[in-house]
């Protein structure tokens, strides 16, 4: 009796509250709040949705040191693919002592960051060896490894992330995949979800007992399980998988999973990885002899976002809708690897996605692109403010989503990164009517750097002579001038790593402002209607072909290949010929 009451008292600690629940449509843009209440009493975190998740590589946000992670306020939810840790057995983070092991090991602050974990990197679309009957193939620095549901349960239990994605049998063998393969995938994914829910319920049971016996020990967090929606690009298969979540559990499972009545009862949210869907869609197209450009398979494009000219959101939306059609609308929907803000907007509009990963914005920083866009666009045109040149407008009349800072045009451009956002220092100088709303200030440490955060280190008793005046913690008045386009242009061409650190913080922050803009529109009295209009405006205003990314990739590869002998010579020739950007 005691045990049942404990289970009843331990609700999933990740909750999602859609706003205007009463008439929440199955599909359509929506606002919500994700709240994480950890059972051990550590800080409660809240995230307004739609919002973004920050992607990691080897557990770290690429290019960011821990102090930079902590001062980039847009970083609230960090997603950690676990496969890179499988180079050791057991994986090192599972050995980390203390509470919140995965936070602690990777340096995320439990009071600031929600950490989620999946076995695979959702952005890794490389061909992989086939998954087996009771394992999936994963990739680490030492090669391919196998991970079984049992291993996954024990790793996630040891690491104690806030959110876990159940193991999913997603084929990464070359598509197309047979119907039989897809059927297997559905069955295994659903069985593995059962496994992790069982493991969790046993853990809860054990906790309940131990807590009862020894109330002082810190109770590990109950894991929140997300499920990746299987079924590949077959509508029926996706529906079948969704239905399997809703089926009443058979007797044996019901007993083990009590009080859950269905698998879905134990699921905290639904995940959609677009990368394998795109691969399968593209294979489908090829099989009907319609070859799509730009879709490279077999190479993990970690650095360069896929310059993919076809906008496949409608197909993707249909597939996602097929999964969600009969599932409760009250659970969060997460998408990985959206490849443009346009696609993000469509997914939010057509499906009602709540969380989207920032991989696209982060990888833009890898190739030297500083994002510069805003939602909602005002009067259908970029809202350039102050004497700061906005993104290039292409012959199709649409503006770039950012600036390729490799481009020689930025060598003498001493303005801040984004024309669409002011920096904190210059906006401080403005008062009254010309003052800038907070939403139009880029708060990132690149555009609005602050000094003295958190405090200067002193190394001797006489160091106060050097740092006397401002050794106090950061004050708003301590804003410094923004880092400039010309400086980052210089850093990119000299191969300095600082370029990417500065760009990553900025790009995540711009995507965060974009999400905030979406929420602001949706909050209006006729929010949904307005939102549809603004999405059209945005699509008309900003270039979805992302030509600027292609150009940046060429420049990025150029500097990478030829830095050193003759690199600047080639550039000067290009400059002289006026072809610095043209291919």
């Amino acid at each position: 009796m005691v045990e049942t009451s404990f289970q009843a008292e331990l609700p999933p600690s990740l909750t999602f509250s859609p706003i205007a629940l009463a008439d929440l449509p199955t599909f359509g843009p929506r606002l919500g709040q994700i709240a994480l209440h950890r059972q051990d009493g550590s800080a409660h975190l809240e995230i307004s949705t739609p919002n973004l998740m920050t992607a990691t590589s080897h557990g770290v946000i690429p290019h960011l040191s821990r102090d930079h992670v902590n001062v980039t306020k847009a970083i609230r939810w960090v997603h950690v693919p676990f496969e890179s840790f499988l180079s050791h057995t057991p994986p090192i983070p599972t050995l980390q002592p203390g509470p919140h092991p995965i936070h602690r090991f990777l340096g995320y602050d439990p009071s600031q960051h929600i950490v989620s974990m999946s076995a695979r990197d959702p952005f890794d679309g490389r061909d992989m060896p086939a998954n087996g009957k009771d394992f999936i193939s994963v990739y680490c620095i030492r090669g391919v490894r196998k991970i079984t549901p049992n291993m996954w349960n024990s790793y996630t239990s040891a690491c104690n992330p806030d959110v876990v994605t159940a193991l999913s049998d997603t084929p990464f063998t070359p598509p197309p995949h047979s119907q039989k393969r897809i059927t297997k995938s559905i069955e295994k994914s659903s069985a593995w979800l059962t496994d992790i829910l069982q493991a969790q319920s046993q853990q809860v049971l054990a906790q309940g007992v131990s807590e009862h016996q020894c109330p002082d020990i810190s109770v590990p967090n109950v894991r929140n399980v997300l499920v990746h929606m299987a079924g590949s690009v077959t509508i029926q298969a996706r529906q079948a998988f969704a239905n399997s979540l809703l089926e009443k559990l058979d007797n044996r499972d019901a007993e083990q999973l009590a009080p859950l009545r269905t698998l879905d009862d134990g699921v905290a949210g639904y995940v959609f990885d677009l990368m394998p869907l795109r691969a399968a869609l593209s294979a489908k197209m090829i099989s009907t002899s319609e070859i799509l450009p730009g879709l490279e398979r077999g190479a993990m494009s970690v650095i360069a976002p896929n310059a993919q000219q076809q906008h496949d959101t409608p197909e993707l939306s249909d597939l996602i809708q097929a999964s969600l059609k009969h599932l409760p609308v009250t659970k969060p929907r997460l998408v990985n690897s959206a490849n443009s803000p346009h696609e993000m907007l469509r997914l939010i509009r057509d499906v009602g996605i709540d969380m989207i990963d920032a991989h696209w914005a982060q990888s833009a920083a890898d190739i030297g692109v500083a994002l510069d866009f805003y939602f909602p666009t005002l009067n259908g045109s970029p809202t350039a403010i102050q004497k700061c040149v906005g993104p290039r407008v292409r012959p199709n009349g649409k503006a770039d989503l950012g600036h390729n800072l490799y481009d020689i045009r930025y060598a003498r451009d001493h303005s801040r990164l984004a024309a669409n956002y002011r920096d904190a220092l210059s906006s401080q100088a403005l008062t009254g009517n010309s003052s800038t709303p907070a939403s139009l200030i880029c708060p990132c440490p690149t555009c609005s750097p602050t000094i003295g955060a958190p405090a200067y280190l002193h190394h001797s008793t006489v160091d106060h002579y050097s740092f006397a005046a401002d050794s106090s913690p950061a004050q708003p008045s301590n804003f410094q001038p923004p880092f400039t386009r010309s400086y980052i242009h210089h850093l990119l061409h000299t191969h300095e790593m600082s370029a990417h650190s500065l760009l990553v913080m900025h790009n995540i922050s711009v995507l965060d402002a974009f999400m905030a803009g979406i929420r602001t529109v949706l909050e209006g009295p006729t929010g949904v209607e307005e939102f549809h209009k603004h999405v059209e405006d945005f699509v008309n205003c900003f270039d979805e072909d992302q030509v600027v990314f292609d150009e940046a990739k060429v420049d990025w590869a150029g500097v990478g290949r030829a830095r050193g002998k003759g690199s600047s010579s080639r550039e000067e020739i290009k400059q002289a010929l006026g072809t610095a950007v043209a291919l």
């Binding site: 040191s65 930079h68 090991f105 002579y465 061409h493 990417h500 650190s501 003759g566 600047s568």
Partner: protein, 412 residues
Amino acid sequence: MEFEILARCHTTNARVCHMKLPHGVTMLPTFIPVATQAAIKGLSAQQVEALGVSLILNSTYHLNLRPGTEILKEAGGAHRFQGWRHNLITDGGGFSLVSLNKSARVTEEGVLFASPSTGEPIMLTPEESMAIQHAIGSDIMTQLDDVVHTLSVGPRVSEAMWRTVRWLDRCIEHHQKSEKRESQSLFAIVHGGVDPHLRDQCLDEMIKRKDRVAGYAIGGLSSGEKGRTLIKQCADKLPADRPRYCTGVGFPEDLLVCVALGIDMADCVFPTRTARFGVALTFHGPLNIRLKKHAKDFCPIDESCPCPTCASGTSRAMLHHIVTVETAGAHALTQHNIVFQARLMGGARGAIMNGIFPTYLKKFFAEYYGQAGYPEWCVNALNSVGVDLLEGKPDAKVVPGDGAQWEYSDTA
């Protein structure tokens, strides 16, 4: 520049000085991290100052090639360009030219070299070096010098030394005529190779020009045991009321010996470069984080270290996982190593202020070399200023050569 000696070591030639420059006060002795291309590798200016660093070095040669003086002037100087609010020092360009550009040829006019971009011949004259450093706006500028290989002997060394003196005059003249003569300070560079007589002559000439020189760099002695006795010779002779800057010194043991010999500042890429190769500096010797033995070690590099890496609890195991794989691994070790050097020198300042510098030296060497044995040259160099590292340690091991203890890779 305002320069004031706050304290002297009662035994060695070490001293604590207050050096006031247009961008604030830098307390000496100090180590100068190197930001060759206007960035400490991977960090932002705000991150660097948060480490308690108040003086960094930019490369005149590199910034002249990129972004170039026009862009620097437009941006308002290198400080504004890189967002750095504290003091900045630039080298004269001679060393980088000769070490990086194989085609460089020295004439009386200046250094002739092929532009790395166009291959065209370019002449870097002393006047041009001053003009570039004026565009950069560094608080401390360094004269263009005629650099010969460290261990060179023969007439070329003497020629280079005398030419460096003549170039100093041209630098002084150009600088004195410029409107920047008040805001930027010029340092001379003492040369003369490893020949004590030449060094002496060079010192005499440069000290003659003391009224128009804000400080003295000592060039060409960054390595080799013989260098250390010459550093002492230079430091002994240089005027006490001018800062003394030893170029290219960055190993911890080297830094402390230099401080004991009377050196006030030194720069080197060592701590930041070694960080990128996965080495963390500690008071118990360098750690090669790539070694397997760190894979399951959940302790930080140094429990007592206040750097952002150690203070946030980054474990050796975590660093092992990402170092040389993710740039963030390099950033973490770079922050740590810069703080290590700053603690080392801060510790020296504190010890000198408190009159316990000889004890500080003994403690450092005992911990840093532990069982491995004291490098003989350190023992000798410190003996020359009255500190006997072996005092009361009859069993101490002394090893010839550099004696630095490096952890080599096992299978990493």
